[in-house]
Point group: C2
Chain length 400, copies 2
């Protein structure tokens, strides 16, 4: 039996215990050995829970137990997760994590440390929940230059945008509904401001270019400014509004960005609704591909963590190569990237035409007293300059 | 440099050479060494082609060259591919193949032989072309019991059905168009009769259950009976007709089938159009997931073959475990499986009602002189019995 420890017995951590229990036999068959949980590290005691006897409050107990071969980290946040994970790797233990904040900030360092210690640091669950995307990038799409990776990487905001489109409701009402249903946190900013998606696209971009991409370098816009009126225009244009996190190759560089986009019905991400996530990948020889599934949730995320544990069991004495060095990759300036922009303004068509050339005007049912239009392709900075000349912009959403 | 040989310099084989050339640097980085083609085995000489000097006509030259570490098989068909591949494995060479016929029939044996020789037999390209699905099943979805795997696994038929839906055209006209565009073979039966999809779902089912599933045991219906009238009904019902290859778990058994289905707009496979393929996978803890991309074509398929070569390069002295034993898995009788059925008949509604209970009648614009209806859920054999009582059935398509 391979003994493991779980750090953080919240939603995902308890899901890992449940998945290991539910599929005990098939997991043992695939791992080549049974997997047993020896410790659960948490601040709480979980009296009455079957794992009660395994609960410890001091991570050093796990560090110092040579019987523990692998550790699951499902605490979230950079600290103390970073300190604990580093100690585990230094003690020669493998680590599987679902923690995007940790991976985005410390991924390169922990990957290097795992390699040095001849163990593995795996993080399939950190992006896209249960959707296999980290391992496909590392071991499936290896014949390709990845030219674009664009994802719906946050289930909360996708649920909210889907609800707004279905019911014509306003942002604030949908947020309250999402909070009531447990899809959004009490403090929803990590989701609705795009910070969560930003860390995830930083991880994917780091893997694609093999170097450290700092999430703080990624231009990030959330969905807080999206209104029921924007949705009306999107419908009139046969489009859906989605929060996309994307990374595009340009020569040797990458432009990464998180922002709402209007996408049309032929886009592979168009039908991705509700809490589902999906990641579109374009390779220079593969062409278009997409990976779709449950981007969050207890069991789907735990499924990805346990798959990492199975992989660890198959590589107990062998480091799986992950191309992600600590050398920082400077991103290209997003202001030089080209888009079309949907704009709503209080300016008249004549005023619009005086500033923007070649626009397409758009009307939406029941919307009056404003002008809606889509620009031709132009850079972000060209758009910004025109927009400042135009005056009042009610909203701007990129069109892809 | 890792020296390889390519057996069969057709579409995929020449694509492999092109991909290795196009992405030479990044492939070498990921493989840990550069990849060089030493031989190309083909009956033809390819005078004037850059690979001309590498062409050999006798596979024994490759067998007997210890410098060749890995062999790509892109010949297609069971023989002589089987004889050649077996000889390569016995000579201690790794093999990557795109050949679904070979894998469906001889997969278990060649996997066992590769294990015995401590080399690898990889076949990512045999299902879904460039879409990663074999490796995800083997190494990503390992925490799950896969309860359903349903795919659009044949690009030719999906292209034809998409064209029929877009233009209202009849089967024969669309087939001619697909042949003119090179999407369908001169003898199109492997595609349109569902034989191609059948071999692919046999491979996927074998991987899911870890035992040999014989493709000859899988009930297979093609798309040759689909008419423009059927498409009209599908549209009236808000559905699309897709050729689905599916495998569903029931207790310890599996029901596998290939047949056209009417699926509704909420089905993850509904938006999969044209030559694209997609594979829907439902795991007991993961829930729904889907893998989408180019299911055929020179470069996408070659991308998957080259990814196998990269994996081989990373496992030159180590067999990657694949759970697919030679022990035959008997499939459950498909006639016991439950479906709803869309039926067109010359019988009247009264005659229909006398045989089937609880049907929903359907009408389609411009269709007269017949009765269209959807049955309640019933087994295949119950349906067959009712249908024989009913008399003339113009068409039957399952509804999912």
């Amino acid at each position: 039996m391979i003994k493991i420890a779980i750090m953080g017995y919240g939603t995902v951590g308890s899901g890992v215990v449940e998945v290991l229990e539910t599929n005990r036999e098939s997991i043992a068959k695939r791992a080549g050995d049974s997997i047993g949980v020896k410790y659960v590290l948490d601040l709480r005691d979980f009296e009455g829970d079957p794992i009660q006897d395994k609960v410890v409050h001091d991570y050093q107990i796990i560090v110092n137990d040579p019987e523990v071969k692998a550790v699951v980290e499902t605490m979230g946040g950079v600290e103390p997760a970073y300190t604990f994970v580093k100690a585990m790797l230094l003690a020669g233990k493998h680590v599987a994590t679902s923690n995007k904040a940790l991976v985005a900030e410390k991924g390169a360092e922990l990957i290097a440390l795992a390699k040095e210690m001849n163990v593995n640091f795996l993080f399939e669950a950190s992006v896209g929940g249960g959707i296999p995307i980290i391992r496909p990038l590392n071991s499936c799409l290896t014949a390709d230059e990845i030219e674009e990776i664009t994802g719906i990487l946050n289930g909360t905001t996708n649920y909210m945008l889907t609800q707004m489109a279905a019911n014509g409701s306003e942002f604030d009402d949908v947020l309250k509904d999402a909070q009531a249903k447990g899809y959004a946190e009490k403090d929803p900013s990590a989701d609705i401001e795009g910070y969560d998606a930003c860390r995830k696209i930083a991880i994917l971009t780091s893997l694609v270019c093999g170097q450290q991409v700092d999430f703080t370098d990624i231009h990030t816009e959330g969905i807080t400014k999206i209104s029921a009126t924007d949705i009306k225009y999107a419908k009139a244009m046969g489009r859906a509004i989605k929060l996309l996190a994307s990374s595009k190759k340009n020569g040797d560089g990458y432009v990464a960005m998180v922002a709402p986009y209007m996408i049309d019905a032929t886009h592979p991400l168009y039908p991705v609704n509700g809490v589902f996530n999906a990641i579109f990948v374009h390779g220079n020889v593969l062409g278009d591909s997409m990976f779709y599934g449950s981007g969050a949730g207890k069991l789907p995320t735990a499924s990805a963590v346990v798959a990492d544990i199975v992989d660890i069991a198959k590589h107990l004495n062998r480091n799986i190569f992950v191309e992600w060095s600590g050398e920082k990759k400077e991103l290209l300036d997003y202001r030089k990237s080209v888009n079309k922009y949907f704009v709503r303004t209080t300016a008249s068509e004549a005023e619009v035409a005086a500033v923007f050339s070649d626009v397409t005007y758009v009307t939406a049912e029941g919307v009056q007293g404003e002008t809606g239009f889509v620009t031709k392709e132009m850079t972000e900075e060209e758009y910004a300059e025109c927009a400042s000349k135009l005056g009042v912009v009610l909203s701007m959403i990129r069109v892809a």
